[in-house]
Amino acid sequence: MIERLARQISFFAPAAVMSAWGVVMLHTIASGHIKDLLSPMFRSYVLAASLLLFALSIVYLVLYQPVQESAPALAPAGRLRQLGRWIMLLLPVVLAAALSPSALGNKTLQNRSSFDPTTGVTPMPSMGSTSQADVKAALAADPNQPVPVEVTDLVTISQTPAQIQSFEGRKVNVVGFIVNEGGRTKLVRWIMWCCAADAVPVSIELSGNTAGDWKDTQWLQITGTAHFPSTLGHVTPHVDVDTIQPVKEPDEPYLSP
């Protein structure tokens, strides 16, 4: 009886594990949690993989059956080892799906910030053409109106003297989450290339009217004047804040180049 039960569990295990991974993937997509994990280009791969895993589970159950007479099931120790193997495939991913938060927290932000002993500002990695196009659009916008820009746009501008000259003193509108670090107030966004494991924070500094009961990592929209002060050759993008107000987390919490 136990032998038969063990054989049945062992037979259904691959289909159960593959289906569970398929369910986790589909749920992650349907719930929108996928936006917290992967950059847009990888999301369709997860959908395709989930459908393939369901298909493989069905094909496995339809095509195969355990050999009953000629080959005995594994010995008890081997059976336990196999069971442990299937549990190892199942449990961590289900737990991670259930327990993973919607965004990386403050400790990880500190651990992943690049440290520049001169300015403490994260240098901007070279971005793709999207960011350059955004910057061009920002530079061409009406100078009398606040220009909606991303944190990354201001950091990109700070790396080119000609663009600094064109943008210095412009009114801007920026969304990000606030972090107070070593007496300085920063507006931060995570940028992600592939997945949350490679995400790095990029920040600008805030001054002026930043008063308010803001919690660390709270999402805010600020309107103010962009400046690019230079210390020992290092330019720090900076916004002198006029107004500041809480906003909902953006639909895409990470910026992807």
Binding site: Y64, P101, T108, S126, A197, E249, P257
Partner: protein, 343 residues
Amino acid sequence: MVSRFSFGATRPAFSDNLLTVFFAAFDLPTAPASAGISWPDVALSFFAIVMEGAPFLLLGAIVSGLVDVFLPAGLIKDWLPRSKTQGIFAALGAGLIFPLCECGAMPIVQRLIRKGVPPAVATTYMLAAPALNPLAMFSTWLAFRNQDPWLMVLLRFGFSLAVLIFIGFWLARLRPDQMLRAETITGSPRQARELSPNPGLVLTPRPGLSLGGLQQFTGAVIRDFTGVLLFLVIGAAVAAIFSTGFNRNLLAPIGQSAFLGPLAGILLAQLLCLCSTTDAFIIAAFAPFSVPAKIAFLVAGPIIDLKLYWLYRSAYQARFVHALWFRALVATFLLTLLYSLQP
């Protein structure tokens, strides 16, 4: 941006204490303290890595299944050069032409070995595909386009090639039983258990549903996918802990040192476990590192890191993987140190 769970603990990590002693010994500026580790963030990073890696692993398993069904073993042997040295260079050339990510490579390489490709050649291809592929070089150019991009591409490619040739010649001297796990080595004739999609049971086609090629294909895909997935899960867990909890600024004070900079680059690559098409963007932004430290990071990471260590263990013996790890890191260190010490 609020975590749904808040059971993260802040306590000085062992690595902090060790590094403090290290910095004091070399009279280096003190590194900033680690912020501690947030376990919910580890869960998020782990989940992100497996969600990113699993589709590529499945793709690799499908290609492996197609190779199993449609590629006759004799054909691959006919394609390959007879001499081992030429085989190594052919594998390096294939790595240049056929881009393959680390996760997808494992099932394909195991299948190629079972089809009769010499393990030294298949392993060289597995190491070369992520390290030398054109996408990795293009992303390096893009990431460093404000910081002498052609020099970075040239150094990355040249040093990676040199390290891979060194490893390739070492691999050519090894016997398959010195490299591979017993179950990876080709059994001839093939055993029923090897053909089964479930390693715990011997399975048979249902009566009236013997579909030959389709059955062989699905069996290979399921077995390869679930077989390597376990190692991806373990590797992702290790990578998530270090990429989340290790404060990369701890290595900043030694990043500009001529001798210790390359070591710092290699160590960071081992801990962050990034894909070869992404790593350049991360390290390009890391101002405290010198060029040799960045190159060491870019050369060592795609060949082996803490995640790849576990993926390699799905096919290779632990002793072999340790020897590969040691050789890859020492070769990377010596090359980047030579570059670092040039006048």
